[in-house]
Symmetry: C2
Subunit: 550 residues, 2 copies
């Protein structure tokens, strides 16, 4: 048995059954060994960012890691952005990077580069270059254990070609699953005391605290105590919809997040990070915790969020059933298509048990409100801010959950980073409906240009943010990769296309031709922001207005 | 004047006049400042690998660096593969990577990552994070000096948002141009002695030694002494065609390179690296220098190759005019299209003064022979082995040389890594003709699978190397990005499409539907290899046959 065969058997024995690949010459023995391990499914991507983003999406939904197979340092570079997203989302990935044979590296051949250094950026906890065929099985088991520990992480195993092709490989038994602990009694008592204080307390849920069991417990705590729940701004995976507790997410815009957090005296973190601004802006604070607010950590991402919340609920005596989101869908939209109408149509038609992937940036801002009462679904978001995550995530999610419809809502700018994902959807015949909001603009940057205070933009600056001349035709791009695709200009067309796509197996792309949801002018952003939080209390709206109006 | 404005003025003062961009929020002040510097052209790319590959192609043809503008560590990651190619090609690039404001990094926001570490991989000689607005102009001048020194390099300047937006920027005067020295007298004498020894001597030309002046001198030396010339396997930029000395390149296949180098007792390196195998293969040597051959370095990439060759020619008294490539074109091909017929058609039709970019991997193997007698042209190749270089290189070359036709010959697998380059070609109305060889396969990997000894490939392994199910439609992909495109199935159609594309300004894509040039079966590779070196002497052919036949 050669090294590659032992590696594959070790992976499969530990339940790692899918490998997202973009191999080259140094990976050919791994590729040849695939046929010796019937439990391993190999899914080819045409670009490494698709492979790594698919591994991320797979693990979010399967609850266990997939492997990748990348070609040396350059393949890793191409996969880096989506590995970054996985790292920030604490998602387990067994990231296998082929390398030159150990004796070849000293010749500094064309593809030679320092793989370990690049890998450390996304794999701070585990980077190992396999040194011998005999030890490769153990290396793989260690990588699996590192990846699926709590918090989950990207574990990078660098695989020199001669370690892979050498004889004497020994599969290694699967490592034991992680056994995370619940919050300490002290942390539970501190959180309980804050919640009982009568002062405004926000419980910020992130990571595994956004899954059904933990969410229900958190909602019981809120109902019992009057504490307020918020979810982290970009959840790795959030269960939501009718019959589940409705939890508002911290807003992306720091101005809006400031309103959500205003007046809090206690912030209790449950598998979540203390909130900070996504970017820095001149004259604005980066730390979003209000002055005078004490931050308490109930449990870290290395602990068991559900068990920690159970302990907290017990300490508080919170047993009453909490309010749950009622079943409710928006009307079927009509007339010329706009981004909010796309969100409305999705809310109108979202099927049972869907997986929704939201990388629609500005165009998707109404999505949360429009789907709050839809049949329960999972929501995956852009955890690390490195755009180009959505389409690859959809590939992985569909492979993890072949019986569930996947709906990926993607901005036009962001879609282009990893557009090659469409081909893998076609090849693997995945039931993914990709909705591309084509507003021919990096729309969010028009807002950001203004937010950083660079208001008086000239024509060269503006041209850096527009995607016109030529306007992309995503339907043609999809067709060129074998994916059924249509363009929609009216809400009626869009609804019809979405109904068709949801009903027919296999991948579909619907290109929604829409105007920009946000203009660059602050005076137009403000009313939109106010509309975007339905039911915002008037005092909050006034505070918001004071904060962001010119 | 803010930091961004001072930076842009420093760049423009030093002749850095093009910036290939894919900006995000942290780069908005740089973007806003573009309109204050009329000498700076900003070219938007939809993916960072396009921006970095365009900067590489630009510098190869302009002889001076362009700047990039990338968005934090993830943008750098996406641009890493083509920066690797630039590094390996010793191409100057001023690589500007935006970062969070200096005070924001400690909050570990979503996009926070260790940019310097990743950058060091492609910028070992210069990575600097700007620390103050006042010093930013000096930082930029230092980066420019580092980039355009000899050898050229990728110099990475990391630009925190607050350094960019801060007031008090001071432009810095341009750094002096580099003044490389010629080879030392000792090195010249050693090389001259080797060449005069009467033993078989090969002069290996790389880097700047493949430009006209140096090539002519090298050819005089060869004509005078009987030394043999070879060019490095993947030149950064090579001038060739009718009226210039014809120099054969070292073959990619180590087996073939071994034949080219066999029997040499002296190898004289002129701005070139001692030849090594691209990859390692079980039981085969990585170092291609034959046993008993002494390697002499006439000049390193840090020295002046043309002046060094002048000194060597003077030492040898080599003054006679060398033989030059005669003007000669292949016939117009006819019948069903094949990869060699595409190369033949290119040879038949290549216009004066073209820039040819070869990333066609297996399909382009006849290109060199078919264009050897064409009107003189520049050839750019895949210097670092990180595929996805060709289309972005074409963008940059066309911007550097707006009056020259650019012909990019690209494999189907490789085209998909940076397919977004087509959109920039359309937006900038570049006269680039992209020829995609669509054989629906990672064809080179079928050869490599066999070369590494992994012969008995099963169906899963084979599926990792084929691009069928669905076959890509590159014409549709191009049309979706606004590029005129056709598919060709016959040589007649291809020639007609190429004539049309060369005659009409603006970008064109021709999708050549061809069978694989190489099959996976060794018995079919061998005859092809033999045919691929026209005029191979019979003893060499026999040696080759012994070496690679089963």
């Amino acid at each position: 048995m050669n090294g590659a065969q032992a590696l594959l058997q070790t992976l499969a024995d530990a339940g790692v059954e899918v490998c997202f690949t973009n191999p080259g010459t140094s990976e050919m023995h791994f590729v040849a060994a695939l046929d010796t391990e019937p439990r391993m499914r190999a899914v080819l991507a045409l670009f490494e960012g698709v492979a790594t983003g698919a591994a991320d999406g797979y693990a979010r939904m399967a609850g266990k890691p997939a492997a990748t197979l990348l070609h040396l340092g350059c393949g890793l570079g191409n996969g880096l952005a989506n590995l970054h997203n996985a790292r920030k989302g604490k998602v387990p990935v067994v990231n296998i990077v082929g390398d030159h044979a150990t004796y070849h590296t000293r010749y500094d051949a064309q593809l030679q580069s320092d793989i370990e250094t690049v890998a450390r950026n996304v794999s701070p906890g585990f980077v190992r270059t396999a040194q011998s065929t005999a030890a490769l099985g153990r290396d793989a088991a260690d990588a699996i254990a590192a990846a699926r520990g709590l918090p989950g992480q990207v574990a990078t195993l660098i695989l020199p070609a001669d370690v892979s092709w050498g004889e004497g490989g020994q599969p290694c038994p699967p490592p034991p699953p992680p056994t995370p602990a619940a919050a300490s009694d002290e942390a539970v008592q501190a959180a309980a005391q804050a919640i009982r204080s009568g002062e405004k307390t926000i419980v910020l849920l992130g990571g595994h605290a956004l899954r059904e069991g933990a969410l229900r417990t958190a909602a019981r705590i809120a109902a019992h105590s009057g504490a307020q729940l918020l979810a982290e701004v970009f959840p790795t995976r959030m269960e939501r919809g009718a019959g589940l507790p409705a939890v508002e997410r911290v807003a992306y815009l720091a101005e809006l997040a400031g309103v959500q957090l205003a007046g809090a005296r206690h912030l209790v973190l449950v598998d979540a990070k203390s909130p900070v601004s996504f970017f820095a802006y001149p004259g604005k604070a980066s730390d979003l915790v209000p002055e005078g607010c004490t931050v308490h950590t109930l449990c870290s991402p290395a602990q068991d969020a559900a068990a920690s919340l159970d302990k907290l609920a017990a300490a508080l005596g919170a047993t009453a059933e909490p309010p749950l989101a009622p079943a409710r869908r928006p009307e079927r939209p009509r007339g010329p298509l706009t981004a909010p109408k796309v969100c409305k149509a999705v809310g109108h038609l979202l099927p049972e048990n869907a997986i929704v992937i939201d990388e629609a940036i500005t165009s998707g801002l109404m999505l949360g409100a429009m789907t709050a009462g839809c049949p329960r679904h999972d929501l995956l978001t852009l955890t690390g801010g490195a755009i180009g995550q959505g389409l690859p995530n959809a590939v992985g999610a569909a492979i993890a959950c072949p019986d569930r419809p996947v709906l990926a809502l993607i901005g036009d700018g962001t879609a282009m980073y990893t557009i090659q994902a469409l081909w893998t959807m076609a090849r693997e015949k995945l039931h993914v409906v990709s909705v591309i909001f084509n507003n021919a603009s990096y729309s969010v940057l028009n807002v950001e240009l203004e937010r950083v205070g660079a208001d008086e933009a000239g024509s060269k600056a503006k041209s850096q943010l527009d995607l016109k001349g030529p306007v992309l035709n995503f339907a043609q791009l999809a067709q060129g990769m074998g994916v059924h695709a249509v363009r929609a200009r009216t809400a009626e067309d869009f609804c019809q296309a979405l109904e068709y796509a949801l009903a027919q197996p296999g991948p579909h792309l619907i290109e929604a031709l829409v105007p920009e949801a946000l203009s660059g002018a602050r005076r137009r952003v403000l009313p939109w922001l106010l509309r975007s939080l339905p039911g915002l209390p008037q005092p909050v709206a006034r505070a918001l207005k004071r904060r962001i109006a010119p």
